[in-house]
Symmetry: C2
Subunit: 338 residues, 2 copies
Amino acid sequence: VTKAAVKKNDSMADIAAALREAGSILLFPHILMDGDAIGSAAALCLSLRAAGHESWVVIEDQIAANLAFLAHGTCLRVEEAAKRFPHGADLSLCIDCGEESRFPARQELYRAGRRSVCLDHHPTSAGIADLNYIDPAAAATGEIVYDLLTAGGLPLDRTTAGCLFAAIATDTGNFTYSNTTSRSHEITVALMDCGIDVNAICVQLYESIPLAKLRLEAAVFAELELIADGRAAIAAVTREMLQRCGARMEDTDGLVERMRSLRGVQIAVLLKEVDAECIKAAMRAKTHGDVAAIACRHGGGGHVKAAGCTLHDNLAAVRSLLGREVEEALAGAPEDGD
Amino acid sequence: VTKAAVKKNDSMADIAAALREAGSILLFPHILMDGDAIGSAAALCLSLRAAGHESWVVIEDQIAANLAFLAHGTCLRVEEAAKRFPHGADLSLCIDCGEESRFPARQELYRAGRRSVCLDHHPTSAGIADLNYIDPAAAATGEIVYDLLTAGGLPLDRTTAGCLFAAIATDTGNFTYSNTTSRSHEITVALMDCGIDVNAICVQLYESIPLAKLRLEAAVFAELELIADGRAAIAAVTREMLQRCGARMEDTDGLVERMRSLRGVQIAVLLKEVDAECIKAAMRAKTHGDVAAIACRHGGGGHVKAAGCTLHDNLAAVRSLLGREVEEALAGAPEDGD
């Protein structure tokens, strides 16, 4: 959490005023949208439309199947948006991201906006817009959007509230991650007062798992290995397993977190065989251990408790190498670290 | 939710007064304690101790490994409690249950109390105590305990607050189930203001899964079958699978819920082979379908969306019978019911 980023924030009032003055507003969430990206973008778009603005969420890739219900007709492909706004919009608003590289095929349209705003909660956000509100203490960009709607007197109906709930719920792991604050719960109280059906939203978010994903999980867990005296778990997803289960590499989402949830396990490593000599490693730490240090050694990066890297060697060699490094990383950690 | 049960509630003030007058208070949560049972019992016990009472949570079975951290030295086996309180306590308090059959080996000690109180949120609760507070609208008994501590001016420190958070989080599926109310979030705000570490609690609750459980899950998911045109999932846990994975039948906890979370699946059925001619069926419904109706037909019971029964036939016969009944139950349900 960089204090610097917080300091250069413009006020919610100034940002609300900039929105009020803009007839057309295009929103730019990051690629590979998660629940916070699509949820907070759709919510802001719906609210701006209800307040009389012309607004769209401009996208360049597919929305994940379990998040598609959050779009509510707000999304427009970048090709179509460029046709409708050949000279850009009155306002470009990048949301849940703060770097142009996070919306690579939309940079031109973003820059064409007469004015720009950035709303984000990532500490790495650079403050690229004319007006920026970057709050790394917010558990989700959805919380920032809620505050903006309140500060700007923008409408918040049941559908909009549902999108903000989805944004906050997904980014906090349903209020279990360490980024969760009492503010996350306070905002949720206000959203529930709008009449949202929390369970119906969660069924759509979490209960539409493809069978192929479950089969892949079964294949991975059947072969998973405990190392470092049971304090680390390592497993691999091979191309053969994907084929056998009818799964895609995206279906590994969430797998390494489940591996970390094993009793006694401090570090979990999931190896993804992209091709014979290209292995992506996803790593998670529980209480002890710094997986970012391991990832950085191999040209990767991330956070202390969630990091990744790509290695150019065969699966057996990578498994043995990273297994050794994880054992070394845990050598100094307390025994009963669960 | 029975209005009758709500109507005969005594006031929080009267219950708080009864607690104040009692020197010794024994708490009786139900057998097979879940997070709400041990969390709300331990919280009330800790608070009563801090207020100068002699208080214990009397138990007759083991606490699940992932919930043991919530006991905080409050739990006493019934044999030991009977020795220390040969004539019972000043007050017996049954918590998160309202029937003596829910604490079978502790009934005598419960009845020996000079006075009794019942705090519960189960709608089937019978109001067996001198003073009863049964609120089926509460997502967890932990919420009722929070209100009682507040009404009675009883102490609420960080440890006590952590127990109440665990009670509410586990009984609401981390705020995703339909029993979650804005009150659940409001109380959580107050608990977080006591300084609890939500993430540390959730790591202890959810990230201590035995490897044998993960292996069993893999074995079950590898053989799981979709029936009724993909609108139902059926799978079996055999004694051979338990042996192969080094797992116990308790390790099937949560499995049928994960089966229900499959895309398109409206009903999930998990068959547990207790012995060659005794099969327990756990059933869950998502949006459509009434699994209680199926369970009742076979002498079982439960709720519309969560029910179970025991059948005395071999696994293949039970699988085929229940498979047919599930197909019939879904015959009238909408096609796109996800």
